[in-house]
């Protein structure tokens, strides 16, 4: 499908695109065909509100987003420069009122993104024909609107969107063998024979790798679990992180509702890798616009404009790490370390600061290394693997925490381990709480039991209750959420009429 308003680029910009594309390719960047369009700010905001897509299903939240973008722009608070979407071909949108220098920079930046979309492993399962898919979703939802009424459908979408982040971002990368056994427990036709879970091993190693007593214990535990489930008729067999999928499978929904929910889920999975690789993706694109611009793109007259824009993009603020800045600096750091051979056991063992300072084995492996990194990592493994103590010190990273007494955020530590821990924690599950379905037949009466994986960070209770209401709307029966409130394990309940909160007594 082509975008209906497609307008050819002005010749001047077209020439820049050709030039930038050739330079990017010469560095080994590898991308799908990239189609640029020039838009005015209103159009760009519209695309941005729709997540980059020209056609989405009708929903007020897009209007709200658009309203906010336009207001932010007219009050001079913010400005989008560019957008690019992960499709094949890639579509990218340029802001027509930008200066030529900015257009060059943005185009170079876009090629970084396009390369990343195509090559990063976390994007591999995404649908590259998402333009069609989005239009298809829109058509389906429009059909439901015609049939069941705007308000009805919208209200249901509201409820679905409320949980659109309760997915398992790793699910697309895992093939689960037991996908089919989900409902078998409730039917009670499962034999109580626990599967034998053995790792493959050479015979002489087998007793070490699969110790018989451990296997026996596991089997026993599994047996008990099954028996308990048999008695309670509870499911799923193990906690389910893909709450959306669980609801699609088991909630009391009408067909159109099930379909709407699956549309919301599809789109959530499509966008998930962008959340998982924000730092890397922006860092990679910034690395390339910087490399290309300073190496090739700039005329003397453009240097100041470029520097101004680039430094604006890289600006940091105390309580928010700038993904562009952190990403580009990490890529540069990796490149330098692999160029100089500052890695491996020998390097790690060296504790002579002076020697480390001068360390240069002239390996020249930097470029190769960063291409590898952009292929296989996501933000979590990127930070976990490549954030070093030196880097933290050099870039003045710190961790901060909320002080409940002073009602402010405070700098908590500049210790490397602490900083890294906080950073990783905030990247885990996009920094959002992990919620799992524990039981879809709680108390043997079809209630839904959810659990918040508490790791020292409490939920915002008013949001949680509102969200719970929405889940109840979808599930159709009472819903429970196990969490921690004011340091006490609690059970939040919503039965469709009122919210309750009670301390949890586990038996």
């Amino acid at each position: 499908m082509t975008i209906s308003t497609y307008r050819p680029l002005p010749a001047e910009i077209r020439a820049i695109q050709d030039e930038m594309e050739a330079i990017a390719a010469s560095y080994g960047l590898d991308f799908y065909e990239t189609i640029f369009e020039m838009l005015d700010y209103e159009e760009l905001s519209m695309f941005a509100a729709y997540g980059g897509f020209p056609i989405r299903y009708p929903h007020w939240r897009f209007g709200a987003e658009f309203d906010e973008l336009m207001k932010g722009y007219s009050y001079g608070l913010q400005k989008i420069y560019e957008m690019v979407i992960n499709t094949d071909p890639c579509y990218a949108y340029l802001l027509s009122c930008n200066s030529i220098t900015d257009q060059k920079l943005v185009i170079a930046h876009v090629y970084g993104h396009c390369d990343f979309f195509k090559n990063n492993a976390w994007f591999a399962p995404t649908n590259r024909r998402m333009l069609d898919q989005m239009a298809n979703h829109a058509a389906r939802i429009n059909r439901y609107i015609d049939k069941y009424g705007h308000e009805t459908v919208e209200e249901f979408i509201d409820a679905c969107l409320s949980i659109d982040d309760l997915i398992d971002p790793y699910a697309p990368h895992i093939v689960r063998a037991e996908a089919k056994e989900r409902t078998s427990a409730i039917r009670g036709d499962e034999t109580l024979q626990a599967p034998e879970r053995k790792f493959q091993a050479k015979e002489y190693m087998d007793s070490y790798i699969n110790p018989p007593e451990v296997i026996a214990k596991e089997q026993h535990a599994h047996q008990q679990l099954l028996e308990r489930q048999q008695v309670n008729r509870s499911f799923p067999n193990r906690p389910e992180r893909d709450v959306l999928q669980f609801l699609i499978n088991h909630a009391q929904l009408r067909e159109w509702q099930r379909d709407v929910l699956s549309i919301i889920r599809d789109e959530a999975y499509y966008f998930a890798p962008q959340g998982q690789t924000k730092i890397m993706n922006e860092g990679w694109a910034s690395y390339w616009h910087s490399t290309i611009m300073t190496g090739h793109g700039l005329t003397d007259a453009e240097v100041i404009d470029y520097a101004d824009h680039h430094s604006g993009t890289m600006a940091t603020s105390p309580t928010r790490l700038n993904p562009y800045k952190l990403g580009i600096e990490l890529f540069r750091d990796i490149e330098e370390r692999w160029n100089k051979g500052q890695f491996g056991p020998e390097w790690d063992a060296c504790d002579d600061a002076h020697e480390r300072e001068r360390w240069d084995k002239q390996l020249g492996l930097g470029r190769e290394k960063i291409f590898e990194v952009r292929r296989i990592h996501n933000d979590i493994t990127f930070i976990d693997t490549f954030l070093t103590e030196d880097f933290c010190r050099r870039h003045k990273l710190f961790s901060f925490a909320y002080n409940d007494e002073n009602k402010t955020y405070e700098i908590e530590s500049r210790e490397f381990e602490e900083v890294k821990k906080h950073l990783l924690k905030n990247l885990t599950n996009f920094g959002r709480p992990v919620i799992r379905v524990m039981d879809g037949n709680y108390l043997n009466r079809g209630d839904l039991y959810l659990q918040h994986q508490y790791e020292g960070n409490e939920l915002k209770i008013d949001y949680a209750e509102d969200t719970l209401s929405n889940i109840q709307k979808i599930w159709g029966r009472c819903v429970y959420l196990e969490t921690v409130v004011d340091d006490i394990q609690c059970l939040l309940t919503f039965d469709g009429h009122e919210h309750q909160r009670a301390p949890l007594i586990k038996n």
């Binding site: 308003t5 159009e43 509100a49 729709y50 056609i55 009708p58 007020w60 939240r61 897009f62 209007g63 987003e65 658009f66 906010e68 969107l161 409320s162 949980i163 959340g275 924000k278 730092i279 940091t316 105390p318 309580t319 928010r320 790490l321 700038n322 993904p323 800045k325 952190l326 870039h395 003045k396 990273l397 710190f398 961790s399 901060f400 909320y402 409940d404 402010t408 955020y409 405070e410 700098i411 908590e412 500049r414 906080h422 950073l423 905030n426 996009f430 920094g431 959002r432 709480p433 918040h452 020292g456 960070n457 409490e458 939920l459 915002k460 209770i461 949001y463 949680a464 509102d466 969200t467």
Partner: protein, 367 residues
């Protein structure tokens, strides 16, 4: 394509309006709008117009940041998005401020309270028509030729076509350059209705009572203004003596002293007789008091009311606000009269929450 975002934007605005409507009672009773009088548009905070998600609260939250600063240094109470996880991708839940015109609010109020659209007695609403020379046209009589614009136009054309010579700056307009003054016809609706607001500002009326009166008066005023164009308003305050004041004073004044309601009635009838001949005017009177009148004054009051005010008024409303000293006797007196005159309405306002009911009592009758 842009139509899609338009559709979603309209839908969003519709929902916002719905929220405003849902919280209308709060906005109406809280009197926050009073200070905004005079501006046509008010902005109203509309919370909760987002889609809720499971999110972390502040407690136990934190993240990683970058920059100078000692350990323990405060980064401010603001709502930083903890860490990088959500950087940029989500705007967070703001309290949205939406702009709504007072007229729209009044219409909403009208709908919520099921207020009837008021048809003025005698339907003597006149529309005066007037021409205003406020535009230009390509054609017209020579007498209306707009010289300055014509020559400007000619100059522009000459420069654009390269005929202009700065050394010999002669500008010759052609037929096409000529611009004529033109007019538009504006109708100036002249509704002949006057509202007289009367407020008791005596010592027994506490600040809260006055606040209630002002808030009620404000909304009545706003609603009626949306119904009548060019509505005239008069404001009378009284304790033992009555004064006609301007709008601003009415909404701000502090007084104290005894109470003589008859003084206000005398003032009202004087205003009506001298300026608003009953043949031409729809007259509305809204009186607010705690009902604590000097005992021997009541008869005088009722006499003026019956003989001078009620016969000429479309509607006479009496709102009695309960004060810490209890509720006065006067309400009972007016209620007696209400049995005889069908243009009398009374309302007892117990507290702020009573404002809503009072507006309905007063305007719901649609007299």
């Amino acid at each position: 394509m842009t139509q899609n975002i338009d559709r979603d934007l309209q839908r969003f605005k519709h929902i916002v309006k719905g929220k405003v409507r849902g919280n209308l009672r709060k906005y109406v009773t809280h009197g926050e709008m009073l200070g905004r009088k005079g501006r046509e548009v008010v902005s109203i905070p509309v919370p909760n117009i987002d889609i809720p998600h499971f999110r972390h609260g502040k407690k136990g939250s934190g993240g990683a940041g970058q920059g100078e600063g000692e350990v323990g240094q405060s980064l401010g109470p603001g709502e930083p998005e903890p860490g990088t996880g959500e950087a940029g991708s989500e705007p967070g839940r703001h309290v949205r401020e939406v702009e709504v015109s007072l007229e729209e609010l009044a219409m909403m109020l009208g709908e919520e309270l099921e207020l009837p659209n008021i048809v003025p007695k005698g339907a003597e609403t006149l529309d005066a028509v007037k021409d205003r020379y406020n535009s230009v046209s390509q054609v017209g009589p020579d007498s209306l030729r707009h010289f300055k614009r014509t020559y400007k136009q000619a100059l522009k054309r000459q420069i654009a076509t390269g005929q202009y010579n700065p050394d010999r700056p002669i500008v010759i307009p052609t037929r096409d350059d000529t611009v004529y003054k033109s007019w538009t016809t504006v109708s100036e609706p002249r509704a002949n209705a006057v509202i007289i607001y009367v407020m008791d500002v005596s010592g027994s009326m506490g600040d809260e009572q006055k606040e209630i009166v002002r808030t009620a008066a404000f909304w009545i005023d706003t609603w009626l203004s949306s119904q009548y164009r060019g509505l005239q308003k008069r404001y009378v305050v009284h304790d033992a003596a009555a004064h006609e004041v301007d709008e601003d004073t009415f909404f701000r004044i502090r007084e104290s002293g005894g109470t003589r309601i008859s003084s206000a009635y005398e003032k009202i009838s004087h205003i009506i007789e001298s300026r608003y001949p009953v043949a031409d005017w729809n007259i509305y009177v809204f009186q607010f008091s705690d009902g604590d009148n000097w005992g021997d004054d009541n008869n005088a009051c009722l006499s003026i009311l019956k003989n001078h005010i009620l016969p000429v008024s479309n509607l006479f409303c009496y709102g009695q606000v309960e004060s810490p000293y209890g509720s006065g006797e006067y309400l009972r007196e007016v209620r007696h009269i209400a049995e005889i005159f069908d243009n009398v309405t009374t309302s007892l306002i117990e507290d702020k929450n009573g404002i809503y009911g009072c507006i309905k009592d007063f305007l719901g009758t649609g007299k």
